[in-house]
């Protein structure tokens, strides 16, 4: 199997190389490193990768990384974009996700301490799925915690909801919860029913529905 191609963009050389090393160790082939938004866009144009890992704050200034990530998502639908951010605010993540949650991820930089988490997210995004930092989902859930419908969920159901929102696959969620996939499917039907959402067999659409619900748009 040909290794997945990846590009790493960060103005800090230590972070760039550190991330590239984790990706390489995890089976990616890092084909380019970029120090700023322009280099990133050039590299992507030269050879569209399966995955671009992008620092949200990059030269030439402000959140140029986020802007570049949005550009990539718009121009290269086949490129997965994983944004590394220092901001917990869900607003950034939701802007990045936009209308769809395929091939996109938003991870806080403090996750870089766990290579497995970064790789897990990288693989999900590269494979066409989504990865939203648990802390960001936590923020959204916290904001909705007083919602009547959310309080109808059991603790276990709430945990499953968070994992769904983060973009994990059914199998991964079932594994984490220590239940069978079948049981999880039943549980998610209950969760969606309690929230008044329509269950969707498509994972990405399901994630989006949950995120929109958590952001308040589906309320």
């Amino acid at each position: 199997m040909t290794p997945l191609r990846a590009i790493v963009a960060d103005d800090s050389v230590v972070i760039r190389q550190g991330v590239a090393r984790i990706l390489a160790d995890g089976g990616f082939r890092v084909i380019a490193e970029a120090r700023d938004a322009d280099e990133l866009l050039e590299a992507v144009a030269a050879e569209p990768p399966h995955l671009a890992v992008v620092d949200i704050r990059m030269p030439p200034g402000g959140n140029a990384g986020l802007a570049a990530a949005l550009t990539i998502r718009e121009r290269y639908p086949t490129v997965g974009v994983l944004v590394l951010s220092q901001f917990l605010e869900p607003e950034y993540a939701l802007r990045l996700l936009g209308a769809g949650v395929d091939r996109v991820g938003y991870l806080l930089k403090d996750r870089l301490g766990e290579a497995a988490e970064l790789l897990d997210a990288a693989h999900r995004v590269a494979a066409g799925g989504s990865a939203v930092d648990p802390a960001v989902i936590g923020e959204l859930v916290r904001a909705r915690r007083r919602d009547d419908r959310l309080t109808r969920l059991t603790d276990r159901e709430r945990e499953a909801l968070g994992l769904i929102a983060q973009g994990h696959s059914n199998r991964a969620i079932a594994e984490r919860l220590g239940i069978t996939t079948k049981t999880l499917e039943g549980m998610s039907g209950t969760i969606f029913g309690k929230l008044g959402l329509e269950d969707d067999p498509d994972v990405n659409r399901r994630v989006l529905a949950v995120l929109l619900y958590l952001d308040g748009a589906g309320a």
Binding site: S12, V14, I15, G18, V19, R21, I22, D25, R57, G62, N63, Q86, F87, L88, E89, P90, E91, Y92, R95, L108, K109, D110, R111, L112, G113, E114, A115, E139, L140, R142, A143, R146
Partner: protein, 587 residues
């Protein structure tokens, strides 16, 4: 003249009058003549004392007192005692000389004894008449049939022809010169400005009449000497009435002086209307008008110091102060070394020192007030501007610190964490002791925690989302993190100036913090809306209320922050009825 000296002089004159009256009684003078003589002289004394009291710096007081003393000298002429009779006869009417001098002085705007030749001529004629009467006349030898006439012990060259010639000449000269004094005084009165005329007309009219009477007196004397016939043929009782009239005219001078002095003193004070005029006036021009009205001097100019040497007139023109002797008087308002203004006015106003002083005092208060007010305004403006600059700079500083934390310290910590994590990967062999691997794990966890804490710190200092996504998103994030349900209603479209957004943001943040800490509320609402040219943000809760802006440092700081950008903060926190904090921030 000091009041004490004035009193002493007056006492001397009164004593002299008493002696004179006693001598008059002893020599059998008619009582009505004695009384009239006594009263006339005392009139001068009273006016003189009044002048000493009310016009301490003026020579009018002593001059009037001396006239009173000289008045009684003439009263010795009819006593029949050889020495005093002839001294009295020779030195009578010297008061006319003093009164003429007084009149010339008071009619001169500069209070000077002018014209000099006139007064010198008058003095010379008066002295010449005295010498003629003293040295050339001896009634015993010249009028042998004069029964009871006392001999003149001073008559060195008794000669009737020479005496009569001298009498004629000197009285004629005196008549002419005294008449001239009256004319000069009257013409000066007619030509004077309104201030001067208002102040002096009683004394100058009285003086002119008195001089007229005295001139008639002297002329009649000269006429009679020359023709041995009366000038005016009138039958009794008119002759006697005319005598009394001429006699009484002299008293018009002290009476006129008294009237003029007391009139000015008791004149209704113009200060009330002046103060009202000042109150109405905004600029220097109208202050000048108020002054002109109050002092009755239309020629008055109000000058303000333009720089160290020149002055600015009311129309803004640069002018110099008038030279001394230019016929204008200058009164400075305020300290001499640094006057607030100069009033250039008719010198006659100096005759009303009380009025002038009072007006200057009010004006000084008004000008000082005006100066302080404008200083205060400037200071306030400067303070307001500097406060806004300080807040703006602090805001910029917060943003810089936030950026530095994210792009500097936090990036480095992430780098450290990655290195640690790599080291941990490499250490995953049997060769590395378990403890070291555990320590590396702990180091990675701690670093991750440090990054999280740094993120919270940076967000508290200045949230990046406020600058990136605007007030609405930043406030939504605030609401999301609040420990109670917060409804956010934003009706602002687009971005606002940085300082406006950050002031609104921190106001809401602080108010929400207060709500969560103290209000015991179950719900809060944040409203952000445009109201006219301002942004209005409101944080309301359903808590216990009772928040006091002056007590809690949070609300105090909030007020300062909002005031600093020219806004205002209202806190409505009645106990038991929730708290509502509303900031209005100009955009």
């Amino acid at each position: 003249m000091s009041r004490r000296r004035g009193l002493a002089l007056a006492a001397g004159v009164v004593a002299f009058a008493a002696v004179t009256t006693a001598v008059g009684i002893a020599s059998g003078a008619p009582p009505q003549f004695l009384v009239a003589d006594l009263v006339t002289g005392l009139t001068f004394v009273v006016a003189g004392l009044a002048a000493v009291w009310l016009r301490a710096g003026s020579p009018a007081g002593p001059m009037l007192l001396v006239s009173g003393g000289l008045w009684y000298v003439g009263s010795y002429a009819p006593t029949g005692q050889p020495v005093v009779t002839h001294i009295g006869f020779a030195f009578e009417a010297y008061y006319d000389l003093v009164l003429a001098a007084l009149l010339l002085m008071l009619s001169s705007p500069a209070q000077r004894l002018q014209p000099r030749p006139l007064i010198v001529g008058l003095a010379a004629a008066t002295v010449a008449r005295s010498l003629g009467r003293l040295l050339l006349q001896d009634p015993v030898r010249q009028f042998p049939d004069c029964v009871g006439c006392p001999a003149n012990p001073f008559a060195l060259w008794p000669n009737l022809v020479a005496f009569e010639a001298a009498e004629f000449a000197t009285n004629l000269a005196l008549a002419a010169l005294i008449a001239l004094v009256g004319i000069v005084a009257f013409r000066r009165l007619l030509r004077a400005g309104p201030v001067f005329r208002r102040a002096r007309w009683p004394i100058l009219i009285a003086g002119t009449l008195a001089m007229g009477g005295a001139a008639f007196d002297r002329f009649e004397y000269a006429w009679t000497t020359a023709t041995a016939a009366p000038l005016v043929e009138v039958a009794e009782p008119w002759a006697e009435a005319l005598g009394w009239l001429l006699f009484g005219l002299r008293t018009l001078v002290p009476i006129g002086f008294l009237v003029a002095t007391l009139r000015l003193r008791s004149a209704p004070g113009p200060l009330g209307p002046f103060a009202a005029g000042l109150e109405r006036s905004g600029g220097a021009g109208t202050v000048g008008d108020a002054l002109r009205t109050a002092l009755g001097d239309q020629s008055l100019d109000l000058l303000r110091p333009a720089d160290t040497t020149t002055w600015a007139a009311e129309n803004g023109e640069r002018v110099a102060l008038p030279e001394p002797g230019a016929g204008r008087a200058v009164t400075l308002v305020g300290p001499e070394e640094q006057p607030l203004a100069a009033i250039v006015h008719d010198p006659a106003l100096l005759e009303q020192p009380e009025l002038l002083e009072a007006v200057v005092r009010v004006l000084r208060l008004a000008l000082e007030n005006e100066r302080l007010e404008s200083e205060l305004r400037e200071q306030l403006q400067a303070v307001t501007e500097s406060r806004e600059r300080i807040v703006s700079a602090a805001e910029e500083e917060r943003r810089r610190v936030e950026r530095d934390l994210h792009d500097g310290a936090q990036q480095r910590l992430v780098g450290v964490m990655l290195s640690l994590q790599q080291a941990r990967g490499s250490a995953d062999t049997e060769a590395v002791p378990e403890a070291v691997r555990g320590q590396l794990d702990a180091a990675v966890r701690e670093t991750s925690e440090a990054i999280r804490e740094l993120r919270e710190l940076a967000r508290g200092i200045h949230p990046a989302i406020l600058e990136d996504e605007g007030l609405g998103a930043a406030v939504a994030a605030l609401a999301r993190r609040a420990s109670l349900p917060v409804e956010v209603v934003v009706t602002v479209i687009g971005r606002l100036p940085r300082l406006v957004e950050s002031t609104a943001y921190f106001t809401i943040a602080e108010a929400l913090t207060n709500t969560q800490r103290h209000a015991r509320a179950s719900h809060a609402t944040v409203r952000i809306a445009h109201v006219g040219e301002a942004l209005e943000v409101e944080v309301a809760d359903d808590g216990q209320g009772g928040a006091e802006p002056d007590r809690g440092s949070g609300l105090r700081g909030l007020t300062d922050r909002v005031l600093a950008v020219g806004g205002r903060l209202e806190v409505d926190s009645e106990a038991g009825r929730g708290t509502r904090v509303r900031a209005t921030i100009p955009t």
